[in-house]
Structures are given as structure tokens and as C-alpha cells.
Amino acid sequence: MSPLGIVLSFGLSAIAWELFARSGMLPAAITPSVFAIGAAIGRMVLNGTLFVHIGYTMFRIVVGLALALAVGVPIGMLMGRFRPAERFTLPLVSVLSPIPSLAWVPLFILWFGLGNAASIALVFYAATFPVILNTWTGVKSVNRIWVRSAESMGAGDHAVFRRVVLPGSLAFVIAGLRQAFARAWIAVVGGEMIAATSWGLGWVIFDSKEYLNTDVMLGSLLVIGGLGLLIERLVFQMLEHRTVGRWGMVKTVRT
């Protein structure tokens, strides 16, 4: 994306929105102008609440993702290395994985109560399966010639696992993490709408509905989109670029 292209696509979209907002097709109260949306974001920045919302949402994402990695990577590794583990786990993962994480929200609220725990559980649920499945695929796709080379050089099972299987499957683990983040980002915002009690980017949108604060709602949406993009760009693309991209194991695309 060139800077000019970005300015152009956002600029034209803003103009189109502005025309629609002023056309009177919908009441002005629920179609705030671009300036009102900007002002709403500005207010939340100035009084600091935006950062608290972001902080809560990020906290839930980070803890949930960390748990998903801590659980998903070992499970995926076991599945890739041991047939019985694969046979036992794969049917469960295959059935649980397609369930939209938001479908669990009512149950999670009953189990974990309203607040952080339910949102974190939701992130964990959304993120774990991409991590498991990609790690499993990664281990399965470790080139046999690497293992043979390592063994011929005297590496035992432990060294082969640590120095060949782990780095050899990293491209897939990172791909899994990216997918996990994308799913978790959707899950956390949705979850916060229902399960959070006072803070979070999802909660603020839902809360604003009570007061018809559509400028805050749209402003928060923009923040959610921008932040998700920024994290994907800064964290995951950078991570990929510096590791498996650097090693020529995947073609990294800079968008």
C-alpha cells in the first residue's frame, strides 16, 4: 500500500460517508458526520478513557493468546509426533473448532461470571484451535531430510526435537498465531459486548447504544479496525519477516 493510496481510499470513503450522513436518508442523530466521529475519538483520547478501553481489551487478548499458545503448541506437537495422540485429539478438535466462539458466551458467563475471565476464556477458545491445527501441520511437514541429517550428525531424539522439529515447524506456528489473533480479535470485541462490565472496546460500543452515542460507536469501530491492523502489521508480520521470512521458509508479503 502506498501512502497516497491509503490517503485516497480513506479520503474518498470519508467523503462518501459524509454525503450519506448529510443526505437525510437516515436521521442525523444516528449518522454522525466524519467530524463528530473524529471529535468523539478526540474526547476519548483527551480524557484518557480510550487507553483504558484499549488496555483492557489488550489484556484479555494477550492473556488469552498466551494461554492458547501454552496449551495449543504442546497439543499440536504431540499430535504431530505421536499417532495415538493424533487419533485421540483430531476428532475433538475437528468438531470443536468450527463452533463460533461467540456461541459459547452465555455458557462462559454462567461458568466464569461477567468480567475478564469470560472474555479471556472466549479469546482462549477462539485462538487455541488455529494454534493446534497449524502446529500439528507444521510438525508433520518437517522435512525428513533435516531429521536424517541431524541424526547422522549424532543428534538424539531430544536434540532433534529441540533443534530441528521446533524451528522446522515455526513457519506454521506463526501462521497459526496470526490466524489465532484474527479470530481472537473478533471474539474479544464480541465477548466484551455481552460479558464485560465496565471497560473494553467492545463494551464501550454496546454501552453507547444506551445513549445513542453513534459517534462514539463508530469511533470505537475505527479504533478496533486500526488497532487490529497495527498489531497484525507490527507484531505478526514483523515476527514472520524476522524469522521464517529471513530464512527463506515463507515468502513474506509486505502490504
Binding site: N143, I145, W146, R148, S149, A150, E151, S152, M153, G154, A155, G156, A159, R163, V164, P167, G168, L170, T243, V244, R246, W247, G248, M249
Partner: protein, 250 residues
């Protein structure tokens, strides 16, 4: 350097039509510091034979001895170089690839870095120590693989058509280069190829393997002095001899 002995090595594998004998009672020795080439048509079991010596496959019967000791399975006493460029670890630089065998032996970082440097110098890739495999040409990658297989000082070097995937010019260069490395290190080399000219250029002795099942058909000592001239009459005569041995009984 250690010598290699193969004593009545046979190998059967299962197929849809029952067991197939890939190798039948193959026996020969490779002397210490000898360069021995195994030549055969595709499917004659030469790679299977190398994989057995390397310990990747277990012979159905017979045994392998290296330096007088029977070998079981894989171990760090044999260096192996494959045909596939992908054998290098893409996540390690050339230097760190060469260090691998030393690292799994617990050699201290400073010492293994120094040893790796020495072997990269031996294969003339010192300047590329910090490069990742995908940044190197095929010939350079194979040279890193050779350095890597030598760095932990195995007693024998096993090579499975290491230059078969290279273009003809690079291959010639690599053959000259390998002879230089061998003369310097005096490793015992077991080298598998289907390329007769390559075998005559490299080997002290050539063993021709006949297919279905793989058995030793002929042995020829290449008495030419090095460096060898592939266009000399004596060289071509050896080439004819080996080609004739390969063609027998077809």
C-alpha cells in the same frame, strides 16, 4: 581414518507382491582413506546400500563394521551428504549449520565457531558464514553440506549423488573441489553415483552394482594419478570399462 566393511549385507522390503530383495549378500571393504565409488543404474539399490551404512535402514541380514566395530543404527561417526539441497537447516546460517554436529556434542560456543570457520574455509565459503542457505547457490549449499558433514570429525564420509542436481559446469568444479578436500582430510569416502565419468574422476576404486537384486558385479581400481584429465585416453578407457560392466546381462 577408519575402514568400512560390509559383510553379506542383504535388504528386503515389503511390496504389494510380497517381499522384494533389494540387496543380496553385498560384501566389500573400503580401506582407510580410500575414495570408493558405487556405480549402478537407478533402482540397483545403491542408495539403499548407503542408507544402510548410514544407519537409516536396518539390513535384513549381514553387518556393517566401521573401524572394526559393528554399527547399529545411526550415530555421529559417519558424515552424510545427500543429493537434496534442502538438507541444510534453513533457519541456521552457513556457519551455524556447520556447527550443528559440534553443538549436539556439547562443544563450547567459541570452540565450535572456530572449528566451523576452519571448515568453511576448507570449502572456500568463509565469506558466506553469515548467509542463510536460501541465499546461496546450489553448489555453495552442497559445499556447506560437505563442511557440515566433516566438522564434527566423523571417521567416514558417505555421499549420495551430492552433485547430481547441479548443472554440468558446477558439477565439474565441485568434483575438482571434492578431490582437493579429500586429499586434505584423507577421509574414507563411500560415494554413490550413476555418473560413470564422475566416478572415474573421483574414485580410487569403483564397484559396479547390478540390479534386481543389488549385488556386486565388478570392481575396478582406477590407477590414474590426480589431478585426472577427463579427456585423456586412459581416462576414457576406464570409462568404457565401467560402462561395459554396467551394460552386462541386460
Amino acid at each position: 581414518m577408519a575402514h568400512i566393511e560390509l559383510a553379506r549385507v542383504s535388504y528386503d522390503y515389503a511390496s504389494n507382491n510380497g517381499p522384494v530383495t533389494a540387496l543380496s549378500e553385498v560384501s566389500f571393504d573400503v580401506d582407510a582413506s580410500e575414495f570408493l565409488c558405487i556405480v549402478g543404474r537407478s533402482g540397483c539399490g545403491k542408495t539403499t546400500l548407503l542408507n544402510i551404512v548410514a544407519g537409516f535402514l536396518k539390513p535384513t541380514s549381514g553387518e556393517i563394521r566401521i573401524g572394526g566395530h559393528v554399527v547399529h543404527g545411526r550415530g555421529g561417526d559417519r558424515g552424510v551428504v545427500f543429493q537434496d539441497f534442502a538438507q541444510l537447516f534453513p533457519w541456521r546460517t552457513a556457519q551455524r549449520n556447520v556447527e550443528f554436529g559440534l553443538q549436539v556434542r556439547g562443544v563450547a560456543a567459541a570452540e565450535r565457531a572456530e572449528t566451523a570457520r576452519r571448515f568453511l574455509k576448507l570449502v572456500d565459503l568463509e565469506r558466506f558464514a553469515g548467509s542463510y542457505p536460501h541465499e546461496l547457490s546450489g553448489g555453495m549449499q552442497q559445499r556447506v553440506a560437505i563442511a557440515r558433514a566433516l566438522a564434527y570429525n566423523p571417521s567416514v564420509l558417505l555421499m549420495d549423488e551430492p552433485f547430481a542436481a547441479l548443472d554440468a559446469l558446477t558439477r565439474d568444479e565441485m568434483q575438482r573441489f571434492l578431490v582437493g578436500v579429500w586429499e586434505e582430510t584423507r577421509k574414507t569416502v563411500l560415494y554413490v553415483t550413476h555418473n560413470v565419468a564422475e566416478a572415474v574422476y573421483l574414485a580410487d576404486r569403483i564397484i559396479v552394482l547390478s540390479p534386481h537384486p543389488g549385488t556386486v558385479r565388478a570392481q575396478t581400481r582406477i590407477t590414474l594419478t590426480r589431478p585426472r584429465d577427463p579427456l585423456s585416453v586412459a581416462f576414457l578407457d576406464f570409462q568404457k570399462t565401467i560402462v561395459a560392466q554396467l551394460g552386462q546381462g541386460r
